[in-house]
Symmetry: D4
Subunit: 208 residues, 8 copies
């Protein structure tokens, strides 16, 4: 009757991390660098924690755009990694699309730099091919708030769902009882306020 | 001819207050704490003033998330209160859904913490089941403006109507003449500027 | 083929000014008072300049909400003025709806205080009855940006077109040659930068 | 299956630069002048670099609105330039529409001042006639953020796609290998951070 | 050797609350109303909790400035209350100065509306007479941040110490052990985050 | 004992309005144009209301800087008006200094455009000559907040007192009883919130 | 002749970390939590890297204020740690002052929560006793910008020097050649942009 | 009698440009990159236009900090350029101090990256040696507003005068008549609004 809830499912979702390269990151100014670094690593931790098939790609990494940040390579040593020789839209690269399709997943979670290009272009292409697309807004960066909101608007009008890494984790996990410690650790590592809650709680209860 | 106005009706609406817990509230940083506390209590006052069936729920309240703020428990001593043992989406908890459906209402007003999870998830689930869903944006808090606007976008695209507690009260009340003093008191208690207007007015007219 | 451009037409449009009352104006904090006063008076000037049928209304003006600001009464001495005895949604007042319909116009331009109530409610009602509705966003005020954007979202999803007073004037005027001096004066009176352009231009060219 | 990706194509797109006049530019206050000047010149450079047919127009340039900024005239010496004698909506000017249609393009990229008038009006008219319309949000300026977001909302609801100059360039170029130096120079000239990346890269590698 | 620490002493300090009147409060726009109301009441609670001699005064309260907010009158039923018949600087009113001097205190804590007038003027006068003056910046409001910082600059250059209500309470209390519950209650009533900390702490420890 | 309160005295003060010219005003972007226009006119009204000797000056007004805004010329038809042929610091112009000294006043109130040049330079020069200098911060405009605060810092360190037009009026007036209606009118004309207070007050009391 | 440069010296400086406790941290809202956590840990890393004698203290840590964040305890296992039983100003605690004086240092670097109390109070006390005091502004947090700037003003007027952790490190290190890798690692761990610079540099040069 | 006006004199001033290197510039986030690039180049243009002796220096430019931006090298081909091998405070480098002293100037204008280190350190050192120091605040960048204001405070308390490039130019030039075209061109090249004023003025007057 109502509109269906297109809900993330850990068995249906794949993670695409696009162009988090050292040079391109210096262009990101709509999110504070400390927060942005944390958001990107948290998103990667979510992918790893839920065992999502993950695809890494870079744009022209031998030039000024620079290499992928080493943390991401280290976190996904076995993931397909597609350094694109020139295609700006990752979806224009056949290896990338092949890697995405090889995951067998229909829900694509995308994060990248910069939002209106490296994220929006493959998102729109994937929508066109019938995928359900979720963009991690806080792990995707761009020049300023004006460019961010232009990109969000275009993607949203096309059917992309805007998520954040925390919402992602929560929607994939479904129930705390699936693993209290695992999710708690994830939150503790990436949300200082949550870490403080856990420290205070543990301190007060450990002696009981 | 035009688009129907899906209007709140005090005889059709129920209030769902989701996860206003002491620990989770420390995560809310998109609204100033003084204002947010006021908005949440005002929303609760609206529910009570209009006699809306109200359902309270919490997420994992024995852990770091902490207990429901005591004011809400005290304001709704007879309301169903469903402490969820683990389900992140309240709609995944059968007791909660049963309590909601037991109200017999088709208009669900939802406020909670944090917006993109504890509010958005049940809102999307309820839409799917054909409910009319209204989210109280100023009584729902989250990490920052970026996460707020991501959550608003996702909910709005799914058909949720974004309201504020003041709009809620006004749409439910319909006509000042239904109870001038009651609504005036509600506004005076939660809007300092309105309280000042009433004080000035009363001072100037009481002697006449 | 494409989507029709629902364009303001000076022969089809009416102006509805809702609840710009002294008390309610103290609630407006999403727009600076100097700017807001200017925007409201500019919107009224637009209505007068284009000869739009105009309807004034107030909510409960004998109480703390206070009287309509005198400037508006003075600018529209012959306009229907409907002080509502209690209805919060002006459209719930039969006199108001009768006055609106008596204008014979199908395009309704609405400005008022506060946006999510006094503007949004009649806007949604008018949409339902098949009117084309345009809200003057910068002549409509509310508590803060959060309440503003909630209101905009609800109205926009229902089909309301969001305009500003300057866009209004430009869309109604169509062509500068219809009256250069008239429109120029309107802009000069309400846009300091435009006044400066005209002063500089006149100073440099008057001697030629 | 999914929604088609309406993608800019250098062989299908034309650029319309509307009313970047010295006087009107003093009205632009939603974007810092240094950034705005850069965005407008970057947008023009994009048009020139990709050889897009370009149409220039001005509103009433003999009056206070002032002349087109000289840089744009100089960059497009052979482009049709239509100084409108009075029409506020450029699409109401037959010469302008004729010039647009003479390009033979179905994708119109529009930038101008001010957003809610000089950009939105022709955008809505072009949509109505079945064109695909892309607005360059960061090369279009207006009074403040409130007027900007009103304009964006109206255009977006009508089907306009919101782009920025950087996204424009990237979507038109498709592949770095089409011309690394050309695109790199474009970015270097208009993105200080990108220029620094190139300088550092070149310094470190030139000796190798 | 170093600069002496001019430290608040509960036996040396008096509280002066200047012109927190219903009308003047509508002028305050540099602090959100919910927060400002809380700050003013917190400051009054501090005065009462530490038993500071308190003087209340108003400016022209029979006119548009309106009456003192009732809460302050009720909190200090026995405090000298000097409605000034016309003097804008409270220090120009002999009754006020007499009441201040009757407290026998040399440290004056001042809060009021608006900062650059009702607070700054008596602060500068009191400095001239050799008092140590502390202004409660967050319980003093004005038109906007520009006027606030002008006022702060003028007062600070004259030797006023800028404090906040929380710093005030902490400096007057000196040691939690003087009264844990009293200070805790004060903080719980006026700092939502602190209230949550106490609720969480109490919930976890009460059963032990 | 304490630091003397250097207080404005209507018999000791003169007003210097420096370079409020049409062209230079387009450079002002640290204060919204509607507010800034109001602040400048309010400052001028204060000078006129208190009968302060006033000196007007402009910088190179035959060039792009443009003419003085006409309102100021009209408000002070008999004031010395010194169009400077080239000196950037008005104090470098002998006619200006002569006009200032001819007022016989030792307290100089300065407002102008842009703050760090047209205001700061004569302020520093006047300080050096032993004048007491007060700058009207909200009637002085500049490029952005960074330039504003640099200018304030330099002036404040040199001994300039930072005031706003409202503080100015209040310090000069001293006592409402000197002229209730006059000051009330001044405030009503330049502070929308104050106008509303007066309208509401008058409406409620006029019938008594 | 000029004013002496009071410069940090690694052989003269000690670090005082005051009240970075889990509960108090939830009060900090003037700095984003991700950034603040990073700043505090960076400040601690600076102390450790330069071998500064460090003193840790907490306020009432058995109550709602909560324990010191574990990272700080772990980083300074041998540092004096003074849990204050009640004194709000750490300088009122004899053990704390004794520990500070035992360092034999005359330059005290202070960071803590909240700025206007836990930092400002001991800073003012230490100044009074003739210490040179440096406050790490970005590792000290408080409720909002208003409270921050009040605290800064009070401290600065008393002679405190406001520093940031980066300035601290740079002033203590003096010369990169003292240890390029050590300082580089410190910066890489706490400044994402700097880490990217190093990664890009290393990638480009490692093969040479 | 009053405080002397320490005024920039083109015959007494030298310009020191410190560490505007490609890598360090990616750390600057308190000023938008387009504006910052413009401010730095404008400052350099000022130095060149007034023929100020200029000294360039860099910090560790063979490492990640990167080379000086090429524009500055090209603008001052004959200026002393001191690449510091390690000293963080340029004043610790004997060659740099020697170059500064060789200019024979007593007024030092400093701009650099980052403000609290590369600017503040040599500024404080130069003050100590009796130089008059002026910092160009808008051509000096740092991490964020908090670090900027900490740096400003420290420098200002030590006697540094905070200037902007526009104030610099105006104070050095003294009188437009010294060279109208030269200063006009400088402003036209770096202030878009000023360029527009000149274009409009020239267009209107050239035909006369």
């Amino acid at each position: 009757m109502g509109k269906p809830y297109v809900r993330l499912d850990r068995n249906q979702a794949a993670m695409l991390l696009v162009d988090h390269q050292t040079g391109l990151l210096s262009l990101v100014r709509d999110i504070d660098p400390d927060r942005f670094k944390n958001n990107v690593l948290a998103t990667a931790d979510v992918a790893r924690y839920f065992g999502l098939p993950t695809v890494l790609t870079t744009s022209f990494e031998d030039g000024p755009n620079g290499p992928l940040v080493p943390e991401l390579r280290e976190m996904f040593p076995d993931a397909p990694f597609i350094p694109r020789p020139g295609q700006i839209n990752a979806w224009d690269n056949e290896d990338f699309v092949r890697a995405v399709k090889a995951t067998g997943r229909r829900q694509l979670i995308i994060a990248g730099v910069v939002t209106e290009v490296c994220v929006a272009f493959p998102a729109l292409s994937a929508i066109e091919e019938g995928f359900e697309v979720f963009v991690v807004t806080d792990a995707s960066g761009t020049f300023n708030e004006l460019t961010r909101h232009s990109a969000w608007n275009r993607m949203s009008q096309a059917g992309v769902q805007l998520m954040t890494w925390f919402g992602l984790a929560a929607e994939l996990h479904r129930d705390w009882r699936n693993d209290v410690e695992g999710l708690g650790t994830l939150f503790s590592n990436h949300i200082p306020d949550y870490r403080n809650l856990i420290t205070a709680y543990t301190t007060l209860t450990k002696g009981r």
